[in-house]
């Protein structure tokens, strides 16, 4: 005699296709996303470079000059140039998301995205100017 059917909440596992490791190469938008995420590696390099620089500065004029000579090496310059590109890319994409992430309401109405973006860009410009003045003046 066959078993009586018992209905339960249980459902057998849904089929999920395995994602390929190379999924991000299939579309331009996916590649740009991965590049944005990879900017994190160049941010980490910046920290290492800065700490090496601080250490060199503490070693007096000779230490600083040795560091500058090393930093002038074409490979290091290239790395820093590429890092600058990725860092600016990170900043641009980060500020583009700011209006989505920051919901400000003034008198009940939502502040338009344009103003949040402009405020962030102004802060970026102001901060950069301040650092440049402190370092160079």
């Amino acid at each position: 005699m066959s078993e009586a059917h018992v209905y339960t909440e249980y459902h057998p596992r849904w089929h999920r296709t395995r994602m390929s490791t190379w999924w991000w190469m299939k579309k331009g938008a996916y590649l740009v996303f991965i590049l944005r995420e990879l900017s994190s590696a160049f941010i980490a390099w910046f920290v290492v470079f800065t700490l090496l620089q601080v250490r060199a500065l503490s070693q007096g004029g000779a230490g600083w000059n040795d560091f500058l000579a090393w930093a002038r090496h074409p490979l290091v310059l290239l790395l820093n140039l590429v890092s600058l590109f990725f860092v600016v890319f990170h900043a641009a994409t980060w500020f583009n998301l700011a209006p989505k992430a920051m919901v400000l309401r003034v008198r009940g109405r939502r502040v338009p995205a344009k103003w949040i973006l402009i405020a962030n860009l102004a802060a970026w410009a102001g901060f950069s100017l301040l650092v440049a003045l402190i370092v160079l003046w």
Binding site: W23, A41, A44, V47, L84, H90, W94, F127, I134, L136
Partner: protein, 116 residues
């Protein structure tokens, strides 16, 4: 009660690091990574050393390094998960990413505390 997770704290560090990195890193990298080594701008190293004497400068640099490292670690961790589809290695990845960030932060703290 919901299980307590470290994720919100890690995400906050990621977020703070991202804001500071977006604001500060472009100018820092342009000045110190490109223009000054190439000699296009040449602040005196005595001036730079003088800037470093100020405790606020050291605090700022430490905050920059610490937050940027944890931002990068968090982002890199998820890049490895999603990009290479290796989420099953998450213990190794987490240790490597945040451990590396912690070590970098310790180095930053040591340097910025101890240099004359």
């Amino acid at each position: 009660m919901a299980k307590k997770s470290l994720e919100p704290l890690l995400w906050t560090l990621f977020s703070a690091g991202g804001v500071l990195a977006a604001l500060a890193l472009p100018v820092h990298l342009l000045l110190f990574g490109l223009l000054i080594p190439c000699g296009l701008l040449a602040p005196e190293d005595a001036h730079l050393r003088g800037l470093l004497q100020h405790p606020l400068a050291r605090l700022y640099l430490f905050a920059l390094c610490f937050l940027a490292l944890f931002h990068a670690a968090h982002r890199f961790r998820f890049t490895l998960y999603d990009g290479l589809q290796i989420k099953h290695l998450n213990e190794v990845i987490t240790t490597f990413c945040y451990g590396g960030a912690a070590l970098g932060s310790l180095w930053a703290a040591y340097l910025l505390w101890s240099i004359p």
